[in-house]
Symmetry: C2
Subunit: 600 residues, 2 copies
Amino acid sequence: MSAPNRATLWGRVLVDELVTSGLEAVCIAPGSRSTPLTVAFAAHPEIDVYSHLDERSAAFFALGRARRTGEPTALVCTSGTAAANFHPAVMEADQARVPLLVLTADRPAELRDSGANQTVDQVKLYGDAVRWYAELPDPEADERKVRSLRTTAGRALAETGGPDPGPVHLNCPFRKPLEPLEVPGDVPEAFAETLAGAGRDGPFIETETGSMTPEANQMRPLVRALEDAKRPLIVAGPADPAALVGLEPDHVVAVADRIGAPILADPLSNLRFGPHVEADADHRRVYGGYDGYIDTLQEPDVVVRFGASPTSKPLRHALRDSDARQFLLDSAGAWREATFTATELLAAAPGPAFEALLEAVDSSNDGTADDENEWLAGFDTAEQRHWRVHDDALAPETLEADPFEGAVLATVFEDAPDPATVFVSNSMPIRDADRFGRPRPADLTVLGNRGASGIDGITSTALGAGSATDEPLVLVTGDLAFYHDSNGLLAVDRCNVDATIVLLDNDGGGIFHKLPIEDFEPPFTEQFKTPHGLEFEALGDLYGLEFERVDPVDFAPAYRRSLERAGTQVLAVAFDSETNHRRRDTLRKRVCASVRDERA
Amino acid sequence: MSAPNRATLWGRVLVDELVTSGLEAVCIAPGSRSTPLTVAFAAHPEIDVYSHLDERSAAFFALGRARRTGEPTALVCTSGTAAANFHPAVMEADQARVPLLVLTADRPAELRDSGANQTVDQVKLYGDAVRWYAELPDPEADERKVRSLRTTAGRALAETGGPDPGPVHLNCPFRKPLEPLEVPGDVPEAFAETLAGAGRDGPFIETETGSMTPEANQMRPLVRALEDAKRPLIVAGPADPAALVGLEPDHVVAVADRIGAPILADPLSNLRFGPHVEADADHRRVYGGYDGYIDTLQEPDVVVRFGASPTSKPLRHALRDSDARQFLLDSAGAWREATFTATELLAAAPGPAFEALLEAVDSSNDGTADDENEWLAGFDTAEQRHWRVHDDALAPETLEADPFEGAVLATVFEDAPDPATVFVSNSMPIRDADRFGRPRPADLTVLGNRGASGIDGITSTALGAGSATDEPLVLVTGDLAFYHDSNGLLAVDRCNVDATIVLLDNDGGGIFHKLPIEDFEPPFTEQFKTPHGLEFEALGDLYGLEFERVDPVDFAPAYRRSLERAGTQVLAVAFDSETNHRRRDTLRKRVCASVRDERA
């Protein structure tokens, strides 16, 4: 590796090692101090470079790409507040275990706290939110230093992965010249021939990371409990596909079959949809309607949970209020259960754990067949009732009289192409996806920012996910999230992503109608619901998107049309959030009454 | 103070103490966890509440208001990534010494790292960027706890000020119910009568903070040096009006007069404009054109510097390259001089220091009258030449042929009403303000985010500044900054701010033409200049602004028209950044040649 000066050498070596070690994409925001990194990335033939103008959106785009691929995406910015703009996405990456490699350019150490322009304290800027922080030394064509740089590059990528994937921060000081200008003597010609300069044929260091695999004796309590269980339950919480660490959905289904357990699959679990889901509505293993009825059923006696805490509050409360033994499976051994009623934590990746279960669990368990049948039948009936009530409520003739956001989410999942990537915003969309997203055998990858559950960066994260796949991309978002990350729409054109954006526009924070604050006016409307009256058509004009206002009854055909078209369409469907909130309540009561009637 | 439950009590006491202690404004982003704070702020009759939907913009708006007033503005957000969105503005507030009080709602401590929704580690979230961090205890109607809360409120406000003003972060955990719902027994009726419950008549604690005032013997070296100086120079760097800590511009002028020193006033020094500036062009003390000619003049032998590091790179380099004794005056004793050639640091506020100088400096200094005259005459001539060259270059007939961004900045300052607040974006606008903003006796408050020098949050900061005054508000911004904080435009309507927004649209990062990277294509255009082709009219539509495309030659009348109109107008003036860059170079060469000719 030859270079006209040390900063250029540094950038080239770092980028070369990262790419050789497997980095496939980088999001770059323009800036001067980061020139050595930007120039090296832009010149590298084997990496996808995405240019963004707002660092916050850039970071969420990188996050989305990493969520979809399970592979680290890198981020580059200049010094100063640019780096702080990455913070929200770094926080989400931490909470949601998404591999991100953050490269912040910095001024040389001697300029910190000296009044130098655009110089702030970037050391450990993201606190404990990163898996690893390293401060790169001053660039120099020194053999040991450059070997350390190559090693750091490999380590940094490795640290984004493993049992607890997440963000890694390399702070990268550079001094001028930052551009590839010749500085005589800065990088001796012979340096290119050294081990440091030339690197190795392939990555300088190879890092392999195993996954947490349980010993047979560690599995025994869980195996015994499941064999003895009369009412076993499997709860799959939110998990990006990569976070399932080799979990075969068929293994979960096979274990569930053998022990007679329903699988309650969160919309973000990546188990609610897929070929393992039976199309036959009378013989289920994967249940999706539980948010609407779980509290009407018998309590489980043994629960196996993996993934993050479920989106469904009724489910979380049902688990909290049960006396069941609850086993948590977690690849990093983290405790992700905030009611503190779980009893056992197995620090093991879901993949190996379910493989072990499949081998160990005896199907002739002590639960009598009758018990088992009754237990499963309860779920089957409830699930049937749930979807029947919703089929009625969401029928076009009903919707004409009572437009309902839930119908949009139902259609989004029902009519999504196979395969497709569906990104669902926080606040109401994910809750509606939970209740109205019916399990299907289609290969849908469903993603959301459920780590820290912010409504910032939603659009960018979705577009980042879309950038990683040729599948159709659907984003379902609310008006506040759409406003919050309006800058993210620039990526549609700049990063060449096609999407169908479903905008549920109820002019403010509909979710607050779910909360007791609704009864306190003022300040309810002005400080919580915060209607803004924004006419989002203008964003369509600004960013060159096709923008269509769609009547709720016409949503399904408009959605299907958009999915067949190239380009990005925004389908804006207007609703009244208060009416919607009442309607969700009414429907849930109807489902529960129907399930209770059946059981009576 | 009575309350239906402990969370409500906590919010009411905290807000009551803050307002009683002098807090006048708060920016609130909607959220649930922050309900006790939001409800209390919204119900308080004596505070201005600004509601924002994007926390990043909210924080910059608060920053702008605090810059303009010198008084702390509070910020409220819910838990999670919302708090991370405050980070860029907190960083700027740290660097630029702006009093900000950040109140982040949080989940109770036991939910951290438990997988609970929207729960992240907010402890010391902004690292060393805040002056004080405190974690509030769990709310409870406990007398000592509530007295501590009242004390913390007073301390927090005080910590935003003093010799080194800046951001303070209070992390505020709340548990449900968050709304003012009755919880029997939670707050005993008698509690309202206790000292904790009732507080005091006025603030619970009074905090007074002195300013750093130099002793006479500490002044002596500076006084002697100035008395002996042959070529003394006063350099006023960027400083918000409040950061001048009682500095009387007339005192600076009087000292300068007495010792025969020119005052080089940064456009952000708040000394370039004001009644202390002589209208008579032949008898100057305040110089504004030095960025164009400083390197053609004699070296100073004694320099007094205050404020942050000057915007002008030629000035910084001239100081670096001189052998002068350089005295830094700083109210917090910080070293804000990154060339490390200054020799003396006086930890004293500019106000008291100049008062002391005025008393101590003998006007019969050792510099001979001739020396002094030659020294001042050099500056006078250079300044005259500078403005003459620019008057020619910026004349309408010249502009017709050669449109030039510098002319816009010249007009902005020349035609700004008296008084007015002018906010100038980073990147090229502040550099052009430096070179083309001619000193005037008008009372212009000129602000910029020159702490960390980001281009994020510019619009919001300007609108926040405007919210604090009835003066006309002018914002000069580039297209990248305008895009970056497009969300900030929502405040025009929601927060009822009128502004004239001058948008210098050169479709990308014109500043990169100043850097050597310009010669490296690729990646210059795609990764540095980053043209985006955005037609910003659409933002006018979205946010209900009057948007006008203005031809460069018509800028002055359009600007004056806008200043006379109510409402917010965006005047978009399109330029070619490359041509502009060449023109700046040519003009500077012309000024320098003209000054050298004069001296030859």
